[in-house]
Amino acid sequence: MLDPLIQFFKGLPSLLMQLWNGYLVTLSIFFLTLLFSLPLALPVALGRMSKHKWVRKPVEWFLLVIRGTPLMLQLIFVYFAPYYLFGLPLAGYRFPATIIAFTLNYAAYFAEIYRGGLESIPKGQHEAAHVLGYSKSQTFFRIILPQVCKRILPPMSNEVITLIKDTALAQTIAVYEMFRIAETAVTARASLTPIIIAGIFYLISTFFITRLFNLAERKLSYYQ
């Protein structure tokens, strides 16, 4: 009668090990995407706000395409485009393609959040800095950006939480992140345990991200 239970616990360490390895891939996608998309979103936001049509229009098209098509489609496109369009080899390109697609996609969403934050700063702040002799870049980095950071924390926390779950989409181009491993294990073991464990991993990640953002919001709550 105890047999199934013994079987279950016997299989658990190897399952955990597999999922842990997948989780490391998930985390790499998560952190690399943030590393590249957070800074990339800034020029995109500034381009979107540009007075010059020739800068603004292409950025508007970029945002339309990225936000108007599924991330899954973008993953497939970024992965296969070099092969079909230029005949380049696909070997070793899976993971870089994932990072490129995720970075472009998240940069688009972050850019719109940045723009909202930038436009919410009263004109008087720019004028006060200008009159005091701040240059454009000094005004931006000393006066505007710190205030923008505070204002965009809530929408940013939303996007970052979505990102940790979106990493599951990388399986579309057969990247072995945690979700794909869990899904395969469900079939192989005829058991729900793998996806329950994966769910717990996602939950714990989200919990820490939320804590981090709450901490940042508290730290910046010293002014309005």
Partner: protein
């Protein structure tokens, strides 16, 4: 040589001509009040002098430095960036809405530009800031943030911030218009004190009594023209022009209990 010299200033927003050929000057230690109905161009004039708007024609000089010079074709040419930057060191501006930096403490608001923009040493900048806060009656607020202060206190910090860079001339753009009536007095008090210390000031204001009592000269503007200019007691108590009379009648008619005050 006047501290500020504006000659034939012209400015239009599209078809709307806001300044027609405005000329005036401000001498060392003088307090000039600019009054007039809203839409008269007085704020635009101030914003042109403080590089927040650009003129379409005419000249503006700060001492020997030209901010902008008229060209023979009727337009005007702005000076290079270094000159403009030098000129910004010569004046200070106090806004209607204070425009303090909310993420900086009062002390940082006063010291950030002197230290990081003007290159004054930290010790020296902080000593100056402390002295200014004392003068403004805000010595205990150095570590407070703008959101913790009343409107009147915020405006006093804004005046201190403008003074921290040792300007030769201080511009005020309706400095009491965003304040509750009971807080207006504390700002006017500070400005009176500055006038007594012979600070050169240009004040766009709706406070007629302040203009009459403190200013050395009053300029009345309407529809982009200087209608009347001169000694405050003459312009405000005995205006010559009909437009000035009509404006003052409206203004004084609107505020009760002013007659006693005028005696």
């Amino acid at each position: 040589m006047p501290v500020l010299d504006v000659q034939n200033a012209k400015k239009a927003f599209g078809d709307n001509e806001v300044l027609h050929d405005i000329s005036f000057h401000v001498d060392q230690g003088e307090v000039v009040a600019i009054i007039g109905p809203s839409g008269s161009g007085k704020s635009t004039l101030l914003r042109c002098c403080t590089t927040l708007e650009t003129l379409d024609g005419g000249s503006i000089y700060f001492g020997e430095d030209a901010l902008v010079q008229a060209t023979p074709s009727g337009g005007c040419a702005y000076s290079d960036r270094e000159t403009q930057q030098r000129i910004r060191r010569r004046f200070g501006l106090v806004f209607q809405n204070f425009n303090l930096f909310p993420h900086f403490s009062v002390m940082q608001n006063l010291c950030d530009a002197p230290i990081h923009i003007a290159g004054i040493g930290r010790e020296q900048a902080m000593a100056k800031a402390t002295e200014l806060l004392q003068k403004m009656g805000l010595a205990d607020k150095a570590d407070a943030y703008p959101c913790q202060l009343s409107g009147g206190q915020q405006q006093r910090v804004a005046i201190a911030r403008a003074l921290a860079l040792d300007p030769e001339i201080l511009f005020f753009d309706e400095p009491t218009s965003a304040l509750d009536p009971e807080l207006t007095g504390e700002i006017l008090q500070v400005m009176r004190q500055l006038a007594n210390e012979h600070m050169t000031m240009v004040v766009v204001t709706h406070e007629m009594i302040f203009a009459r009592d403190v200013a050395d000269r009053v300029i009345f503007m309407d529809k982009g023209f200087i209608v009347e200019e001169g000694d405050p007691r003459q312009v405000i108590d005995h205006p010559v022009q009909d437009r000035t009379k009509a404006f003052l009648k409206r203004t004084f008619g609107a505020s009760k209990g002013l007659d006693q005050d005028m005696e």
